[in-house]
């Protein structure tokens, strides 16, 4: 059975082939292109399922992961090897990623219908899937980074897919550059790690002795003082996560990424891009916790917790259906990051997987709503879609309840595990922040549901909405099943009845070396209460008395607070006025410096030389040397005269020759200033000739 692991490397290859084939050969046949992409991801899905189930059936896979490498580049006396690896973490990612991707691809068949760049879309999303699949099977950090960046490229291309729209084109650029800032830190961390350990293979880097070595070394930094190397490396790598998983302060790109077609939003927000950032932390988890009582986990947890709450507050005040979900993603990612910072490895990984399913469901559902409502994205213009889009409605409800954390849906189990873990380990502040965020999450989802699906249509578009085609609704149904049921693989074992029955397979498979998080009835009860309260508050404000057309959002009564939240705390404007402005000014300043200072110095030197040579010509060459030469000529002539008929031609020839040479030289030097072509060639040749002659004489 384990020989089937040898299929692993093929998993990212199929979508890559689809990408290449579409770009090179079948651009013009859009049906062929789209089905090629779907077929390729489906093959990857089948292969991944095979690998997953084999992995589940392989004992001790965690301790002895499958690995296969090829020599990729020679580096001095050693060589860098690239390869694939399957361990339990990879296996569960392989369960999730191709499955969600396949649903998104099928959905896109319908959603992208009629787009002039239909084939190109499927090429890009195939490459996107390649990026994520390559990333999860990578056996080393460099390969992970390579696929990580390929995803960055795809996000750029897809967010700006409708590039004629200036807002889309700017959003793509913003996404790429913002994540690139994080990536620069990631790259530095990677280089640091590589130069300290001489390897980037996970198995070697994360081995006990390497981690111990890194933890025992320390480096003195300005401002921070003496810090263990392991901490520095971990935090630099975490910089990549902050960018990719849109954590504060690099979160600004993700909401704008909504400019892309909705299947792309689902892809970015659920299965691929942002998950990659969290996956990186999960993968490098031992490094983060290598230093006993180190600062890295605290930093990670703080950023995660802050982001979780911060993004929730913004989500509350957004009116664009996809933007609400975007901030929701940021917030949920914050949860995962917080969990990993607090040491809750299994809970973080579990939430990563469950979230992927229900967030993909919600995004695709929102896309269905948008398409049904004739490309209307403003929730204030919706309403009453419940009866018009039945499948979309019910699946959306499933996603909402899962995200809000209503038992027994998937999100409940994973989120509760994070909160319980935080509480049990005495991280009360993190727990409180997480709980507050849970309440707000339920609230903004309730607000969304009631604004979109209940009440009366508030616009012409909503009035005439109709259900989406089956290529779109079937994926919703599949994802809804996972959103409802997936949580059962991670029910704590001490949970009454269910726990014993199900046995928490997720924990046993992915993190059996980590202690299980026991059920905490207080935490669990409170989180259920908060989730219900959040949904209830949503009902009170938006459900009991649905908004009518033109009626303002009740939240506007919050006044200034609402304005601040709606404008996302003004962070975009702040960045624009500081970093962006400064960089552009600096660039302009340097350009002026280059033109007006450096280049002028060059020209001044050249002019100075010209003036000197002119002076030489006028005051030395013409009167003195030329005079001398002429004198010699005269003398020669005189001698020739004197010697009468003695070989007149020879002497004359010499005299004329010297005279002519003198004139030529004079002219040549004058031409240094006039810029005649030949004089420079002459100068170059003379260089060589003179040197040769000198050498010849000297030796």
């Amino acid at each position: 059975m384990e020989s089937l692991f040898k299929l692993t490397w093929l998993i990212p290859v199929f979508p890559l082939l689809a990408f290449g084939a579409i770009v090179l050969y079948v651009r013009r046949w859009k049906r062929v292109a789209s089905w090629l992409a779907v077929a390729a991801i489906a093959v990857s899905l089948v292969l991944s399922q095979v690998v997953f189930w084999v992995a589940v059936g392989t004992p001790h896979l965690g301790e002895h992961p499958f690995e296969e490498v090829v020599r990729w580049l020679p580096t001095g006396l050693s060589a860098f090897e690239m390869g694939v690896m399957v361990d339990p973490l990879t296996a569960v990612m392989l369960f999730m990623v191709p499955l969600v991707c396949t649903m998104i691809f099928i959905y896109a068949l319908g959603y992208m219908e009629g787009d002039p760049r239909y084939a190109r879309f499927f090429a890009y999303v195939s490459l996107f899937a390649t990026g994520m699949l390559g990333l999860v099977v990578a056996n080393n950090l460099l390969m992970l980074f390579i696929f990580w960046e390929i995803m960055g490229l795809c996000s750029y291309l897809l967010i700006g897919f409708w590039f004629e729209k200036p807002s889309a084109m700017r959003a793509g650029l913003k996404a790429f550059l913002t994540t690139r800032v994080g990536d620069a830190f990631f790259l530095l961390g990677l280089l640091y790690l590589y130069s300290q350990t001489g390897t980037l293979a996970f198995r070697e880097v994360l081995s006990e002795e390497t981690l111990h070595h890194l933890a025992s070394l320390s480096v003195t930094l300005p401002v921070f003082g003496t810090v263990p190397v392991a901490t520095v490396i971990a935090l630099l790598i975490f910089g990549g996560t902050v960018g990719k998983s849109a954590q504060f302060p690099l979160h600004v790109w993700l909401p704008d990424a909504m400019e892309g077609p909705t299947p792309v939003s689902a892809l970015i927000h659920a299965a691929t891009m942002v998950s990659a950032g969290v996956y990186l932390v999960v993968r490098m988890f031992p490094l983060f916790h290598a230093v006993p009582h180190g600062t890295a986990p605290g930093v990670v947890a703080t950023i995660g917790a802050f982001t979780a709450l911060f993004a929730c507050t913004i989500a509350v005040a957004q009116n664009d259906i996809k933007r609400v979900l975007a901030y929701s993603t940021i917030s949920q990612l914050g949860y995962m990051i917080m969990a990993l910072g607090l040491g809750a490895y299994v809970a973080g990984a579990f939430h990563l997987i469950t979230h992927a399913f229900f967030k993909a469901l919600l995004f695709l559902g929102s896309g269905s709503v948008i398409l049904g409502a004739h490309h209307e994205q403003d929730m204030m213009e919706m309403g009453g879609l419940r009866s018009r889009m039945k499948i979309t409605f019910w699946t959306y409800i499933a996603g909402t309840l899962a995200l809000a954390g209503i038992p027994p849906l998937a999100g409940f189990w994973s989120k509760d595990e994070i909160l319980a873990d935080a509480f049990n380990h005495g991280h009360y502040l993190a727990w409180a922040v997480g709980s507050l965020a849970a309440f707000l999450t339920a609230f903004y989802m309730g607000r969304q549901i009631f604004l979109v699906f209940f009440g009366h249509p508030r616009s012409h578009h909503a009035e005439h909405a109709k259900e989406s085609p089956r290529t779109m609704t079937y994926p919703l149904l599949v994802l809804a099943v996972f959103a409802v049921l997936l949580g059962f693989v991670g029910v704590p074992e001490d949970f009454p009845v269910l726990g014993h029955l199900l046995g928490n397979p997720f924990h046993h498979f992915v993190g059996h070396e980590h202690a299980a998080t026991p059920v905490n009835p207080l935490v669990m009860g409170l989180s259920i209460v908060l989730a219900c309260a959040g949904l209830g508050a949503g009902y009170m404000l938006y459900g009991r008395k649905p908004l009518e057309e033109g009626q303002p959002d009740p939240l506007t009564r919050l006044g200034l607070v609402y304005v601040v939240l709606k404008n996302k705390y003004g962070i975009d404007e702040l960045y624009q006025a500081t970093f962006v402005w400064l960089t552009i000014r600096l660039a302009d300043l340097f350009a002026v410096f280059d033109r007006e200072v450096i280049d002028r110095v060059v020209n001044a030197v050249a002019r100075g030389t010209a003036i000197v040579s002119d002076g030489l010509f006028r005051f030395v060459d013409a009167p003195v040397i030329d005079g001398l030469v002429n004198l010699v000529g005269q003398a020669g002539a005189w001698l020739a005269d004197l010697w009468g008929r003695f070989d007149l031609r020879v002497i004359d020839g010499i005299v004329n020759g010297v005279g002519a040479a003198a004139q030529t030289f004079g002219r040549a030097f004058r031409q240094v200033q006039t810029g005649r072509v030949q004089s420079y060639i002459l100068l170059a040749s003379v260089n060589v000739v003179v040197i040769l002659a000198v050498l010849y004489l000297v030796l």
Binding site: G76, R180, L188, L191, T583, L692
Partner: protein
């Protein structure tokens, strides 16, 4: 191989130039095809050398040596190793592509193609020469045809740009020449490899320092390293398209090649001592070059400054290797990685920036402007151009999966281990280069609503696509699997590092 493959490769273009000159002026098509056909001979031979270079043995191969000017011990001495083979191949490839692209030249085609072939001989000569005298002859010779290519077939300010290019390089060359003569007087040899063994001026630090800086100046101007770079934007902006391609693709490499082949092995101790200074210049070239590029609105000028930025990585790699000269096997791996990165970056920059200049030519031929503000929305109008430009741009900004990344990664890896502060400062360049390439180039040219002025713009024609196809091929193939070229480079680099 027992026939003089290098000599044949070297002099075929020269003979070709004479043949082209002898052809009748009235038949421009004929002489273009003849020139192109001739350029295939060195290209095929270069490929042959690439594949038949014995990677197991390493060292200098295909060596030819004969006394030339015995009075002063000058030899006609050619040979190639893993560093020069890629450069020779790059030269042959870019020359052939440039000639093919230049079929559009109508003004005095005969002279144009003859100069181009002459230029090829000069460039190949620099990469093959193992005798300093010979090296210098070819080095100077390369100036002449490029001078004319800019001065005759260039843009409005061509005379100024051509003279600036010529004189600036010449100043550096003279400085280098004086130092080299002094080195010859000291060692009695022009043999580049021999000089590295003899280590001239080992006993006299002052003299060594003067010689080091003189040679450095000669190469630094060519690379170009900040602050000696201002000839570059002028030359590029005025040069004809193929001239820019060769200028950026190969002539800049002459300087970088000199740093690695000559300066580093002959003055390792000096280079080590001055590594902080050179490192600062490299880091400035990277960050400053990127920022100044970001401020440009002339597409060609922007790419010219991006060369300052990208060649800065070469210098960073060389400096890293130099900084650890003489520190034994502990640093050897990092040094080798840095130098591998530097040489690979030379190759990649040639391929990528060559492609970028071709693409500027493509758009300029049609639009007759390079003003970034004048474009917009071409992505939907000219999809092939858009696709190729996008791939090339991403290769240039170092996207993993494309060639530029591998070399930048290796340079950074080496530099991070050996000259950490410079590597950290230089990493700013990664972000800024993404900014100027995506914001200025891609966004202003391809994205946004279509500027109606370009409603009738045509996409790339077959000649242009054929010109760019091989370059795209190399960007992708060595991005995915760099081992074939790095096996070649690595071996030579390890030898150099071992001798430091």
């Amino acid at each position: 191989m027992d026939w003089p493959v290098l000599s044949i490769m070297l002099f075929t273009p020269l003979v070709g130039a004479v043949i082209v000159l002898a052809l009748p002026k009235e038949k421009p098509a004929l002489l273009k095809w003849v020139a192109l056909a001739i350029s295939f001979i060195p290209l095929i031979l270069a490929a042959l050398v690439w594949f038949s270079y014995d990677r197991g043995t390493g060292g200098m191969q295909f060596v030819e040596r004969a006394a030339w000017i015995s009075a002063i011990n000058v030899h006609y001495y050619l040979g190639v190793d893993g560093i020069s083979v890629p450069m020779v191949c790059l030269t042959a490839l870019l020359t052939t592509l440039s000639l093919f692209y230049s079929f559009i030249i109508d003004q005095r085609p005969k002279e144009y193609f003859a100069f181009f072939l002459l230029l090829e001989t000069a460039m190949l000569g620099v990469f093959m020469s193992l005798d300093f005298f010979l090296f210098y002859v070819f080095w100077e010779l390369s100036l002449v045809p490029m001078y004319f290519l800019i001065g005759i077939w260039g843009g409005p300010r061509r005379e100024y740009a051509a003279i600036k290019f010529f004189l600036y390089t010449l100043v550096g060359s003279v400085a280098m020449l004086l130092a080299v003569i002094a080195m010859y007087l000291e060692t009695g040899s022009w043999d580049i490899l021999e000089m590295a063994r003899l280590q001239p001026f080992a006993a006299n630090a002052t003299l060594a320092a003067v010689a080091f800086w003189a040679v450095f100046l000669g190469f630094a101007i060519k690379v170009p390293v900040f602050p000696f770079h201002t000839w570059l934007p002028d030359a590029h902006v005025e040069a004809p398209t193929a001239g820019s391609v060769i200028l950026a693709g190969i002539l800049l490499k002459l300087g970088a090649y000199g740093m690695i082949r000559i300066l580093l092995p002959i003055f390792p101790a000096m280079f080590r001592q001055f590594a902080p200074v050179v490192g600062i210049l490299a880091a400035i070239s990277i960050v400053y070059g990127a920022l100044v590029a970001m401020s440009q609105w002339d597409l060609k000028k922007l790419i010219a400054y991006s060369s300052v930025n990208h060649m800065g990585y070469v210098m960073l790699g060389v400096t890293a290797a130099a900084a650890a000269a003489g520190s034994g096997p502990a640093a050897a791996d990092s040094q080798a990685i840095a130098l591998n990165g530097a040489v690979l970056q030379m190759w990649n920059h040639g391929i990528i920036t060559g492609a970028l200049f071709f693409l500027v030519g493509v758009i300029y031929e049609r639009a007759h402007t390079r003003d970034l503000k004048a474009f917009g929305g071409l992505g939907a109008k000219v999809p092939t151009f858009a696709g190729i430009l996008t791939v090339t741009t991403f290769a240039s900004l170092g996207l993993p999966g494309l060639a530029g990344f591998v070399s930048e990664f290796l340079v950074f890896r080496g530099a991070f281990a050996l000259i950490r502060p410079f590597a950290i400062v230089s990493s700013l360049g990664i972000v800024i280069s993404a900014a100027y390439l995506l914001w200025k180039v891609i966004q202003h040219v391809l994205l946004g609503p279509l500027n109606e002025r370009w409603a009738r713009l045509t996409d790339m024609n077959r000649r242009e696509v054929i010109t760019l196809a091989p370059l795209i091929f190399f960007m992708v193939i060595f991005g995915l699997y760099p081992a074939p070229i790095l096996d070649l480079i690595n071996q030579a680099v390890v030898t150099i590092v071992g001798s430091l």
